[in-house]
Symmetry: C2
Subunit: 692 residues, 2 copies
């Protein structure tokens, strides 16, 4: 599956305004709601006191080393990022939760397959021929631009210029220094018909082919905005990184652009591992690579990224799901293909049960996974108000796919951005690999009652089949093998007239001579049913999810805009508890050791900060790191064995014995109680020692 | 660091005999010893009843899909493997334990950096020039062979032929079909002097350069054993996979052959994250790639593999370790460099404390990590009798390295095989990247007392420095910057005579004109100490460890050699508990659900096997998967709410209430009790229902 940047139906301008407005008016309240505001001893928090500030947000991520451009001291490389300690932990925790939510919960079969892949695999899958973006070259300076992004950026800039000319507040220019190529807006008013045309183009951008994009550039006089030079005709650029395997240079290979092929190639082994039964799912978390043309959207568009993919293999005649009733009530925000094709972006809320019943979502299994994806994203901290599911339009979807829904998460960089894809890929993948290798990738089921029927049967003259088609013989015979009764009888008719054409799974056509193939109706008794399973594929771009999660979690304290906080849920927070001794004095050491060791035994990841700075500053640093709880050890701890417990969002402090605080914070971290329940266990702390 | 195949000082023959003998006489007893054999109700187990059988072992791993050749249905690619469900779980559990043992225990800073790396990074690190193996080409058929492996295989075959001629039992030929290239032995007796010479060559194989290997081939008439043809002169083949980044093809890149560079490039950010203090360690787990010439040793030599690397940054003047006393008593088997250089392989047992005291291991920090590596390997199930630490010999080690020890694990394929390297790399890595980029990669420490001293100071004519050396200016000035007092005064003397040569960190020489550089002694007051930290680097090849662990865990039941068992410790076993209902009948469903859900809540990974086969067969399948415990649900479970608990190695069965069995198995899995303690909690089960 190709996780791709969403070309949203709204202009970039409209989106970024909507986005800012959205952040101002409707912030993350999902986790916050769990803390009732009427508890008299608790502090109230206004997370929306300051509008979202991308510059401050980026500065925080950079300062705390969540991630940074890779090879920065060598000047960096676009689209490659390194995750620092909090970023790696956050990613590891998201992955651990993904494993629990999907793999463990549904007993999926986990795989770990190789990245380096020999060329024939991607020839069969279609990636060598088609895994490409359209690019154009500046005809004078040779700069390479992605064709759809060029159209989008220029038309959006014109729409923005129009708004400005009509007196709207100018959109602030992003201060990210990396965005040198940002298209400048000029305040030029457009005619209403032109605006409507631009908006309609933008709404369907994913639907255009390369030649169509070239036509649009000519019609609307689109040039390279950086140089003002004209651009050439769109050409395809394959996005796979190429290499070669072994010392002789004779074996071309590619870095996988998705983990999926590793699942398909191991299908027979997986089926055997599952005792020959379907449905079952395989799952894999791993690195993939795409040589993007000119990535400039931070973690949203990168050349190397970690994916998590599930391939759920299912009987094509039985796409119901045994656990569908558990999710049927889940309400989702959906943007269907018909709405988009009509140039609209109106979403509607409906339950998964209703969506499948009405045929909006193709089948129960697909609906089940869409609902599970929703639950996962909300659980790790994505704001459900900024999450929607968008259906692929007809031309956007691969010809073999039955239906496809993207989980789109709204953010300030990419607007509504695809972060998870969930597709019904039919039998395509297993069929093409089976045709190419001649290996049957099928399920065989014993029938309760044998079926006796008259059926068209194709018989090849094996010798001339091999002689004529050589390496393609398996593909040609598989194509005939897969024909239904009607197609076979049609082919029989054609062959009676002379040579006939047969199309293989990869789309190539072959000419079959009448002498090579006999088709006859015969009476057959079948006691085994053999079929190629269909595949439902949920595919997660973890870096995109991580970035959106960070954005949804960020806010600044009402009293001081400089004091940023990341309200990450405990389940994914890099560190769960910060242990803060009043000072680095030796008398606190045994207490620090004791608390650390007890938390470690309880399975709670804690860190000690005994650096030489005030407690307030140490907490402020850890608010930026998203650490949900803090424990302060002071002289009272030495004398009375009490300590205080601080909650990150409210900065509320509670006090209790070592035992009480440790058991309370353990329950908080594992989610068995929330902060209001913790407040019922531990009295408020009113000491001055740790006041910030 | 270059994890490399060990060319052991013993011949392959001797090794493989030693190995077989070893397995026969001394099997894994570490975990087994925890189960006292005198408990009257307990079964005794003889794990050494059958000698290790590689064919059966491989068949088990293949049948249960621990791993398999990648792209198998496409004919496979040498050196690329996919891990199936049990292999992935085993690997994930080894990684989780590694995280706990190293990262969490020592609060290391975890990183996740990119694999695709621009060429300048590996030019600076020396990989572009030197990360290569020597290969030779068959002069007639063009086949490519690795030079050192060729020498080794031919000499070992000759030694084996000699043994055979002298009447020793012939070494059984491995039945692995993949090993087509195995060198055939011919029973030819050798002279004693020749035997001694061959053994001496083999003992020092890692010490030879390419030209020396060429000389050895000529001297000893070594030809391609496959074809009998002569081979050409050894040539270097760079082992990095090359690619190019971006659409223009102008930016060459390589897939990293180790994760280490990602740590070094982020050093300044890591130091800042650690509040400017050393020592600290970064850690990373990730995929690396090496385009091996002709890999044919299963998981021991692969083209793509998962590594876990630690870079511990330390003050070069202070290589003590605060926690050294915790490990000083640990006894290790050591093979030092002097012993090897004298052509011997005699190991000696000593404590880490003693080894550091005697200077066998260079310093405390290195010794600390060697001991921690030992503890980790034994904890996950490596047989400590088949584990030793081998020191690198002078020529084998990079010129900048101060000391290097490999953890070698004995196995049937590679003999004693390097699985972990632990090196003191001095300041090399940070220095070369600093020189190449001009970025200071240093620690700055405030001195308690400022130091006033007279010191030689170099001052450049900046203009002519830049003009003359251009891109190399930073490297040249860094080279002078790094000179000590004596070297600077020597350079001053040379410049007084005319142009002088200066050598940069990468070994290149530059000529400096007297007009460009002034060196004078000046009185300086220093209040900041600035230094480049040294790096201690433990580097783990996880696939090799995993393979050795599987081999060390494998045995067959005394009564039936066909019944293989993998005695994996619970901490790494893919599945901890198998839940086996007597049949798939509906009446067991609620019980299966209840037990599954209670174990899941307790954090114990369990799987249900309700397949349509006998309980005995289901247990046998899970013995092969290494599942340590089994719970049987039968009619007594429905009637009395009791169930039985089975231990994998003894096949011992115990009975108890749901509550008792669940709490006991949870304690067993988390290692808080062992089986003998479990036996005291639960009475023996003597029913016939589940007897196998």
């Amino acid at each position: 599956m190709r996780i791709d940047y969403l070309s949203s139906p709204l202009s970039h301008l409209l989106r970024s305004r909507t986005s800012r407005h959205f952040i101002r008016s409707a912030t993350r309240t999902a986790t916050w709601n769990r803390i009732p505001r009427d508890t008299s001893t608790m502090t109230t928090v206004n997370k929306t006191a300051h509008p979202f500030d991308k510059t401050r947000f980026d500065a925080l991520l950079n300062r705390r080393f969540f991630y940074a451009p890779a090879f920065e001291i060598y000047g960096g490389v676009a689209g490659l990022y390194d995750y620092g300690p909090p970023g790696s932990s956050l990613q590891a925790n998201i992955i651990a939760e993904w494993r629990r939510h999907f793999i463990v919960e549904e007993a999926m079969l986990e795989l770990d397959t190789t990245i380096m892949t020999p060329s024939p695999v991607f020839e069969a899958s279609g990636h060598v021929a088609r895994f490409a973006d359209w690019m154009v070259k500046d005809t004078l300076n040779g700069e390479v631009l992605r064709a759809d992004h060029l159209v989008k950026n220029v038309l959006e800039a014109r729409l923005a210029g129009d708004k400005e000319a009509r007196g709207a507040v100018p959109v602030p220019v992003a201060t990210d220094k990396k965005k040198k190529k940002q298209v400048k807006t000029t305040a030029v008013k457009l005619e209403d018909a032109v605006i409507a045309e631009y908006e309609s183009i933008l709404a369907q951008l994913d639907n255009y082919s390369g030649p169509e994009l070239g036509q649009l550039m000519r019609t609307h006089s689109i040039t390279n905005p950086g140089s003002g030079n004209p651009v050439g005709e769109p050409q395809q650029f394959n996005l796979m990184f190429a290499s070669s395997i072994g010392p002789t240079g004779q074996h071309p290979g590619y870095l996988r652009p998705e983990t999926a092929q590793g699942h398909f190639l191991n299908f027979s082994r997986l089926l055997e591992f599952n005792n020959g039964r379907v449905p079952f799912a395989s799952a894999q978390i791993g690195r993939s690579f795409r040589n993007e043309i000119s990535p400039r959207a931070g973690l949203l568009r990168v050349r190397e990224f970690t994916m998590a993919e599930i391939e759920h293999f299912v009987d094509p005649l039985e796409k119901t799901h045994t656990r569908f009733s558990e999710v049927a009530h889940v309400e989702l925000v959906l943007l269907d293909k018909y709405t988009q094709a009509s140039g609209q972006t109106t979403t509607r809320r409906m339950t998964v049960g209703e969506a499948v019943k009405q045929g909006v979502i193709a089948n129960e299994t697909l609906g089940y996974f869409v609902a599970r994806i929703f639950a996962f994203l909300v659980r790790i901290g994505i704001d459900e108000k900024r999450l929607r599911f968008r259906q692929h339009m007809a031309n956007e979807m691969a010809h073999y796919a039955a239906d496809c829904w993207d989980a789109e998460i709204q953010n300030s960089v990419g607007g509504w951005t695809e972060c998870v894809g969930c597709a019904d890929r039919s039998a395509y993948d297993l069929s093409v690999h089976s045709a190419k290798t001649g290996q049957p990738l099928v399920v065989r089921q014993a029938l309760k009652e044998p079926i006796v029927e008259e059926k068209a049967v194709a018989e090849w003259d094996k010798k001339s089949l091999g002689k004529t088609f050589k390496g393609d013989a398996a593909a040609v015979s598989a194509a005939v093998e897969n024909m239904d009764e009607a197609a076979l009888m049609r082919l029989k008719g054609e062959l009676a007239q002379g040579p006939a054409k047969v199309q293989a799974a990869d789309g190539c056509e072959f000419t079959v001579e009448p002498s090579m193939l006999t088709i006859e109706r015969k009476t057959l008794k079948t006691s085994i049913r053999e079929f190629t399973p269909n595949v439902i594929e949920p595919s997660f771009g973890l870096g995109r999810i991580l970035y959106c999660l960070l954005e949804h979690s960020f806010w600044s304290r009402e009293q001081d805009v400089e004091r940023g906080v990341l309200s990450l849920p405990a389940v994914v927070a890099p560190t769960k508890v910060l242990i803060v001794p009043l000072s680095a004095r030796a008398e606190f050491d045994p207490l620090v050791q004791e608390v650390s060791s007890r938390l470690r035994k309880a399975g709670v990841h804690a860190r000690v900060d005994d650096s030489n700075t005030s407690i307030g500053k140490r907490y402020a640093r850890n608010d930026e790191l998203g650490t949900p709880f803090g424990i302060t050890l002071d002289f009272a701890s030495v004398q009375n064995r009490t300590m205080t417990l601080r909650e990150r969002d409210t900065t509320d402090q509670r006090i209790g014995s070592f035992d009480d605080v440790i058991s309370t914070v353990t329950d908080l971290v594992f989610g068995t109680i929330d902060w209001s329940e913790a407040c019922q266990r531990l009295p408020a702390y009113d000491g001055v020692q740790a006041v910030e």
